[in-house]
């Protein structure tokens, strides 16, 4: 029953390690997009323009309520219908970056809301522009309470990269699938992929907590 083949596992490991690299690149690039776009979406919801606030709010709700897998297909297939051909990597990064930017915008919003009103008022009393208030006073303080959520979604985006396999991005699951169908053996590739995910995401949680404490100390907020 238990026919784990060590030799085969050893043989496919290099391919899986390359795929791990691709997975990490995809997660990192998607996260970078999400970090920036999420901030834009969060701040857009705090402007006094009611129409803009409403549209952004509904957009965020929509993206958060629908499956990432479907969004990946949408970005990949709808472009060509209108003459815009995107590579699997480009579509994947757009879809996953957009999806997580909506989650991050909620994290940022929570962080921004946690900054007391007195901080805004003190910044006004120092005659700061709205951009200066955000950049110098509010965002540095909003970041700290947001760090835990930001860290969770970094791990989350990493764990969602396997969905990019469906449009042909050669990340871990895609590679495991390919190995499986070449050799008619699925036990080793899928088990190894699971172990690789565990080996990365479990320590990541601890590292993120450490980073959070480091930032807290650095900003003198103990």
């Amino acid at each position: 029953m238990f026919d784990w083949n060590w030799e085969f596992a050893w043989e496919i490991l290099p391919r899986l390690i390359v795929a791990t690299g691709n997975t990490l690149i995809a997660a990192g690039a998607g996260y970078a997009i999400a970090l920036v776009l999420g901030l834009v979406l969060a701040i857009a919801q705090r402007t006094p323009y009611r129409g803009l606030t409403f549209v952004v709010r509904e957009f965020v709700e929509f993206i958060r309520s629908t499956p990432l897998l479907l969004q990946i297909f949408f970005v990949f297939y709808v472009g060509p219908q209108f003459g815009l051909r995107l590579s699997p990597w480009a579509s994947g990064m757009i879809a996953i970056g957009l999806h997580y930017s909506c989650y991050l915008s909620e994290v940022y919003r929570g962080g921004l809301d946690s900054v007391p009103r007195g901080q805004w008022e003190a910044a006004t009393a120092l005659n700061m522009t709205i951009a200066q208030k955000y950049r110098r006073i509010i965002i540095p303080q909003a970041i700290v309470p947001a760090l835990a959520g930001m860290g969770n979604y970094l791990v989350g985006i990493f764990k969602d990269t396997p969905m990019l396999s469906v449009i042909g991005v050669a990340e871990l699951i895609h590679t495991a699938n390919a190995i499986g169908s070449e050799h008619y053996r699925f036990l080793e590739p899928f088990t190894l992929v699971g172990l690789i995910f565990l080996a990365i995401s479990l320590p990541a949680a601890g590292l993120i907590r450490g980073f959070e404490n480091f930032i807290r100390r650095k900003l003198g907020l103990q």
Binding site: Q119, A122, T124, A125, M128, T129, I130, Q141, G220
Partner: protein
């Protein structure tokens, strides 16, 4: 929109007040907080505002700092309209650009200090001069250290606010506001959140400002003795209006209105 034709574009003349409220109204929905307020403060004057809570006294300072919009009338600072700006021959509500230009004359200290927690005491003081006034870091540092010296906080200049007591935080907040070189300083119940034993260190700093600087100051306070000691004039607010005003000796020694008498005797009993 309100007809602003009765309001001048500029106050001129020899005795132009530093701060002038003209028919200022403020309400939240149907609740009227300030009712046709007229108040002039001359340059270098120290005016204390006292009164029961809910009388609108803090709102006076918050409107002057432009933290609250006014619903009617006009506020002038140094002769020029603060809440409005000239446009097409008339006065219209000020835009953000006009506010930023006029706000430079005003500094404020808050009840809860509102120091920036991610910056040290010195960085708090340098923040405005460097990033708003655009002066060099070296010059801002000199200016800030001088002011921290003045408020007796120079030995704590590299501490973050979380490591400072309330009285120490409030003194840093005063230095931070002064670093912007305002013409008008606003003190909004700056001792109300402090433990009794550290109130003195803050009031002493403010006392020093009255002597050393030719600053115009407005102070909302519950410290009657302090108001009596240092004010040029005391205004008693009641129900969104100035019920009575006068020199400390007049107002505390011989109040004319019944409400003032009631308030003062209630406060004295509480002590």
């Amino acid at each position: 929109m309100e007809d602003m034709s009765g309001y001048p574009h500029e106050l001129t003349g020899e005795n132009t007040p530093m701060v002038s409220f003209k028919n200022v109204r403020k309400s939240y929905g149907s609740l009227v907080v300030l009712d046709d307020l007229d108040l002039d403060v001359t340059t270098g004057e120290m005016v204390s505002i006292i009164g029961p809570s809910g009388s609108g006294k803090t709102t006076v300072l918050r409107m002057l700092m432009t933290l609250e919009k006014i619903n009617g009338g006009c506020i002038y600072v140094d002769g020029k309209p603060l809440t409005h700006m000239p446009k097409n021959g008339g006065l219209v509500p000020a835009n953000e650009r006009h506010l930023r230009e006029r706000r430079a004359d005003i500094g404020m200290c808050f009840q809860h200090f509102n120091l920036f927690p991610h910056m040290t005491a010195l960085e708090n003081c340098m923040e405005g001069p460097v990033h708003v006034l655009g002066i060099s870091k070296a010059e801002a540092r000199d200016r800030s250290e001088e002011l921290l010296e003045l408020v007796g906080m120079i030995n704590k200049k590299d501490e973050h606010p979380s490591r400072l007591s309330g009285g120490q935080q409030q003194r840093v907040a005063i230095a931070r506001a002064l670093a912007m070189r305002p013409k008008v300083m606003l003190f909004d119940e700056v001792t109300s959140a402090l433990d009794p034993e550290v109130i003195g260190e803050v009031t002493n700093v403010i006392r020093g400002l009255v002597d050393e600087h030719n600053l115009t100051m407005l102070m909302v306070t519950h410290q009657m003795g302090f108001a009596r000691d240092i004010s040029d004039r005391v205004c008693f607010f009641y129900g969104g209006k100035i019920e009575e005003q006068g020199s400390p000796a007049e107002l505390f020694g011989n109040p004319q209105r019944e409400r003032t008498q009631q308030f003062l005797s209630a406060v004295r009993e509480a002590v």
